[in-house]
């Protein structure tokens, strides 16, 4: 793994081949300058994007994950983005309970002709992630971090469910 440049954060993109990947291409053809943090994974359809890919990326330490597909009704496969919309919305709404900042994940729709919109989306999302800063690691980074958590737990802190009888 080449050392990551400190100027960049780790942003993973999942883009459908037909619309959004094309939109990113259109942005490139139009030389619409964008921040370089984003790395794009091409999938055939937003319906192929398992929300768990996004979770896996976040668990692995991604600072942000951006998903983009065809606008609703424009799916190349007719229905893929309709399923994707439900799945992704559920993930986005679920993240807060895990303590992962839901702003680190976003999904949107960009068509193959919307190069400028893509530039806007990437620029804004990257700016947001930089404002949030590097994501905390789920595995405590050092023994010190780890110990602090364990001591807290042994003193009965942090958990709302135990100890008291009245729920």
């Amino acid at each position: 793994m080449p050392a990551q440049d400190v100027r960049e954060l780790r942003i993973v993109g999942f883009l459908c081949n037909w619309c959004s990947y094309g939109g990113a291409d259109t942005a490139g053809v139009g030389r619409f300058t964008q921040p370089t943090d984003l790395r794009i994974i091409r999938v055939p359809c937003s319906g192929r994007i398992d929300p768990l890919f996004i979770v896996r990326a976040l668990m692995n330490g991604a600072d942000g994950v951006l998903v983009s597909g065809c606008h609703p009704r424009d799916c190349h496969y007719a229905e893929g983005n309709f399923y994707a919309r439900r799945r992704l919305e559920m993930l986005k709404r679920f993240l807060p309970i895990t303590g992962i900042d839901e702003r680190r994940f976003e999904y949107t729709w960009v068509s193959a002709s919307e190069g400028q919109r893509w530039q806007h989306v990437v620029t804004e999302f990257t700016r947001r992630i930089h404002e949030l800063g590097p994501a905390p690691s789920f595995n405590p980074k050092s023994d010190v971090d780890w110990n602090a958590l364990a001591v807290q737990a042994s003193q009965g802190q942090g958990c709302p469910c135990h100890g008291s009888i009245q729920a």
Partner: protein
């Protein structure tokens, strides 16, 4: 006749056509019940119901697929049966449902917290109408059932089985609490606090998959993607991140399907409050799709369908 007698009569009337009827009996000590597989009338003597009969027996149904069995269900368990039927994971003709009108079950964790000594030292238990008299390590204690009721019972709006061939007991007028204090308190915490909490609890998780296997809706079982190499989603390494990844798989596969029976949390040998995740996901599903798994027959899980215009998903402006 008592509810138990009625149940026994009902089971007796159908036992001949069935491979077995799944109920409960007393377990290894007076405080614990265990599932009972009734194959003969003699087995019926051991049948118990009541606040200690906590297990959701619907979990066993997919394992009996293709055979005719009976199952005793509480209101909450009946939702799991409905969801299994809706997903065509079991065949209605193969299952005889003995539905109970349920007065609620206990939380062993709360009993432990309420007793003067660990319930491991229990000597005797007397179940009263609204109390539980427990003798533990030589000390007697009377617990109000209300105090040690499972969380799910506090917010239960379906005490009586929603689907059944026999409905046994007196119907209830449910009076659910609007929400659980522990859930509200946890949700109100900051991201950093919640994150640290899961880091710590997932550090305790031993990934025994009791939560998964106790879940009536986890029908992949042997073929769960958390234990396969192809696809390889989760490392065998027992890291908090991998343990959390598994929980995320579980919650994501249950989105719109979870009937909130609480078996995952009950099964956890290290007491991880998994229902914090489940209840939160279910709340989102309710908010967005107005869907509650297991509440009605012939519902489609919301993630297996879509609407062209989603009234409750706001497309975020970019």
């Amino acid at each position: 006749m008592s509810q138990l007698d009625d149940l026994k009569t009902a089971i007796k009337s159908r036992l001949g056509d069935l491979e077995c009827v799944i109920g409960w009996e007393q377990g290894y000590d007076p405080l614990h019940a265990t599932p009972l597989f009734i194959r003969s009338e003699a087995d019926l003597d051991r049948l118990i119901i009541g606040p200690l009969a906590v297990h959701n027996l619907a979990t066993y149904l997919t394992g009996w697929k293709g055979k005719k069995v009976g199952v005793v269900v509480k209101g909450c368990d009946s939702k799991s049966v409905i969801e299994l039927l809706n997903e065509k994971l079991i065949n209605r003709d193969d299952v005889v449902i003995f539905g109970l009108c349920c007065d609620g079950v206990v939380s062993q964790r709360k009993i432990r917290a309420a007793l003067p000594a660990d319930p491991g030292f229990v000597e005797s238990v007397e179940i009263g109408a609204d109390s539980l008299k427990v003798t533990v390590a030589g000390q007697a204690a009377t617990l109000r059932l209300d105090d040690v009721r499972a969380d799910k019972c506090r917010v239960c709006d379906t005490p009586d089985a929603l689907v059944s061939d026999f409905l046994i007991g007196k119907a209830h007028t449910p009076a659910p609490a609007p929400s659980l204090k522990c859930q509200d308190e946890f949700e109100a915490k900051s991201d950093a606090e919640k994150f640290a909490f899961w880091q710590e609890t997932m550090g305790r998780c031993i990934r025994c998959y009791a939560c998964r296997n106790a879940c009536p809706m986890c029908v992949c079982r042997d073929y769960c993607i958390a234990t396969s190499r192809d696809p390889l989603w989760v490392s065998q390494e027992n890291l908090p991140s991998e343990n959390m990844m598994f929980q995320m798989i579980h919650v994501s596969h249950l989105a719109g399907r979870c009937t909130e029976c609480g078996e995952c949390e009950r099964a956890c040998p290290v007491d991880i409050p998994l229902m914090l995740l489940r209840r939160y996901m279910n709340k989102q599903v309710r908010d967005v799709f107005q869907h509650e798994a297991g509440k009605a027959l012939d519902q489609t899980p919301p993630l297996l369908t879509f609407k062209v215009e989603e009234e409750r998903i706001n497309e975020r402006g970019w």
